[in-house]
């Protein structure tokens, strides 16, 4: 993994001292809240319903054991004993006191972490495939490119006050696990006809109130041109993005209004000015960054186990992933226990994961966009020991990718923007589906829940999406069907009127039961849905409600 150099350390230290002074001036009244708010947001500090929330950046979701251990200690000492892993591969603390935050930042800095680029209208923390450097279907490791983008974008003076926030994702595998088509810029590593590696570039994707699939702006971008091309896109956006209207300020709206061809022309013209300048990436620098990201080799090569207790085999079936190196596997640590809060991990659980990371995981653990954790590299011979430890600490739920592996935003239980609760809905769905064993029978199904149209719970890209809305003080939930985040990316469609919260779990159970009736042999839920259309499920959603 990447290690800070002297510049990184100095940059972060200086920022902490700057923020410490800003907090002191806010406390003694020299700064008003209007003056302080943009300053705290630039350091990842939000004010939510009950308390401040600190969002800590986890660049491309990758952590070392010592970093996870510090996250655990912060949860224990400064929060309420837990943290919340997010869909953007970060972690949020829901209860820190403002006066403690400068000290929290010091602890983070000691292990090369910070809360910069987790808020504000800047280039946000870059995301990537959580299985990068490990996945069996990978063309190239996306982490070095994500790190190059991180270094280039951090405190970029030209792009610190963009029209709106800006999100970049990188994927290097055949399957898109970084949701590149739902980012402001999505980069897919590809190989051209001559066998050269480069990037397919997508632009203008996003969720929120105006969900858009990104459009392809370039078939092949040579690696050394990456930063100059990103700069050109951002300059066009910075100049023409709608600063007059918050709801029309994202780049997706600009791409919509210009059209992708005219937008590309603008970018190409701008690119002409910067392409051959200082932003051209030297091969030596690419090699230097790549050297930080190695894929380990096992001490001994053995196949993944086929035997053992039923619960272990079930966990292997759902939570183990093939690795690109023989003798290794990747495993998903589910943060979705039945009836639990999706994405939450206690301080103790984080410490256990740190221990496993150190002992079995070649010192690397990842956060996924599905709000789970991944040990990307573990030896097959260690899988049983890992599972046993996870099970002892409530971390061995065998549901990665199943319907109980629900993604949800914090919703109205925590968030200042939310209209409706989402966590209790997820808990109730999870309990209902588990009671019937439906999730295991239905196979791969994604359910994602957002508590408002800002769509932090990614409901637009779920096979079954749930959107909470407020109608005259009452919570209702709209169901969407057919969304997907991968190479078959799609935006889900609303199927009908909203449901009361208590009706949602049963409605989703009926959708899955209908799927089991309609599916052909071996067919996944999303394929049945695409074959038959959402009408085939609509009646199931609203059945029994009339009574």
């Amino acid at each position: 993994m990447y290690r800070y150099d002297e510049y990184d350390h100095a940059l972060v230290r200086e920022r902490i001292e700057e923020f410490r002074d800003q907090v002191a001036r806010r406390m003694d009244g020299r700064l008003t809240e209007d003056e302080f708010k943009p300053l705290r947001l630039m350091n990842g500090v939000y004010l939510q319903l009950h308390a401040y929330m600190l969002r800590v950046a986890i660049p491309y979701g990758a952590l070392r054991a010592e970093q996870m251990r510090v996250l655990a200690r912060i949860a224990q000492r400064y929060d309420r004993g837990y943290g919340h892993f997010t869909t953007r591969q970060n972690i949020q603390y829901n209860w820190p006191a403002l006066v403690d935050i400068p000290e929290i930042l010091v602890h983070l800095a000691e292990v090369e972490m910070h809360a910069i680029q987790t808020s504000g209208n800047c280039i946000r923390n870059v995301t990537a495939d959580p299985f990068a450097g490990a996945a069996a279907d990978e063309l190239e490791d996306s982490r070095p490119w994500a790190e190059i983008i991180r270094q280039w974008s951090t405190f970029h003076p030209e792009f610190t006050f963009l029209p709106r926030k800006f999100k970049i994702a990188v994927n290097g595998a055949a399957e898109d696990r970084a949701a590149i088509r739902f980012h402001d810029i999505g980069l897919q590593i590809v190989e051209n006809a001559d066998g050269e590696r480069g990037f397919e570039v997508w632009v203008g994707g996003g969720q929120g109130r105006t969900p858009r699939l990104a459009r392809k702006i370039r078939d092949f971008l040579e690696p050394q041109d990456l930063l100059s091309y990103l700069t050109a896109i951002l300059r066009v956006y910075n100049q023409h993005g709608r600063r007059d209207n918050l709801y029309k300020a994202r780049i997706k709206i600009l791409v919509d209004s210009l059209g992708i061809d005219a937008f590309r022309e603008e970018v190409d013209e701008e690119w002409g000015y910067v392409r051959d300048g200082d932003l051209r990436l030297p091969q030596a620098e690419i090699a230097r960054i790549r050297a930080f990201f190695t894929t380990p080799r096992p001490r001994s090569v053995s196949p993944a186990p086929q035997t053992g207790p039923a619960a272990f085999r079930s966990w292997l079936d759902t939570n183990r992933r093939d690795h690109q190196v023989e003798g290794l596997s990747s495993v998903v640590i589910s943060l979705k226990p039945v009836g639990g809060t999706p994405g939450d991990a206690t301080s103790e659980q984080m410490s256990i994961v740190a221990e496993l990371t150190e002992r079995y995981g070649f010192d690397e653990v990842r956060v996924t966009p599905e709000q789970n954790l991944v040990l990307p590299h573990v030896e097959n011979g260690d899988l049983f020991a890992i599972w046993e430890t996870l099970r002892e600490h409530g971390l061995a739920t065998a549901n990665a990718g199943l319907a109980t592996d629900i993604v949800t935003c914090p919703g109205l239980d925590y968030c200042n923007l939310a209209n409706a609760r989402s966590i209790p809905v997820a808990q109730a769905i999870s309990a209902t589906l588990s009671a019937e064993g439906l999730a295991e029978i239905a196979g791969q199904v994604s359910i994602k829940i957002s508590g408002c149209i800002n769509a932090c719970g990614h409901h637009h890209i779920a096979h079954i999406g749930v959107l909470g809305v407020d109608k005259r003080g009452e919570e209702f939930y709209q169901i969407t069907l057919g969304g997907a985040m991968g190479t078959d990316a799609a935006i889900g469609e609303i199927v009908g009127k909203g449901l009361a919260g208590e009706d949602v779990p049963a409605a989703i159970a009926r959708i899955l039961r209908r799927f089991l009736e309609l599916r052909q042999t071996g067919e996944a839920f999303i394929d049945t849905l695409r074959r038959l259309g959402s009408d085939a499920f609509k009646e199931a959603i609203y059945a029994d409600l009339a009574a």
């Binding site: 806010r26 406390m27 003694d28 009244g29 008003t32 809240e33 004010l47 939510q48 319903l49 009950h50 308390a51 401040y52 006191a97 403002l98 006066v99 009836g339 809060t341 109205l412 239980d413 925590y414 609760r421 966590i423 209790p424 809905v425 808990q427 109730a428 309990a431 407020d470 005259r472 003080g473 009452e474 919570e475 919260g501 208590e502």
Partner: protein, 91 residues
């Protein structure tokens, strides 16, 4: 009937403005306001930015938060509803 609520500057906790112009974490200690009293008190609260962040008026009835934002304000009052009960209608 209305009350003034905000978040405490030091730690962000939910607070309510009392009749004597202090701030309390307990809704029971909040000043009950109406009409012009509410506007006047809110203007004063907005000047207390070294203690309270973002003061605003909420609707109350005898049982607690009321009006269109009753659920949001009830959650602010008692804390997150997400727990182990799975009872959606609990609030």
């Amino acid at each position: 009937m209305k009350a003034i609520t905000a978040n405490r500057l030091t730690d962000g906790r939910v607070i309510y403005r009392t009749p004597d112009g202090d701030w309390s974490p307990h809704l029971a200690e909040a000043a009950r306001l109406d009409g012009d009293n509410a506007s006047t008190a809110l203007a004063l609260a907005e000047g207390e930015f070294a203690v309270a962040v973002g003061p605003y008026l909420i609707d109350l009835d005898e049982d607690g938060p009321a009006g269109q934002k009753w659920r949001r304000e009830s959650i602010r009052l008692v804390g997150p509803s997400a727990g182990t009960t799975h009872v959606l209608g609990a609030l």
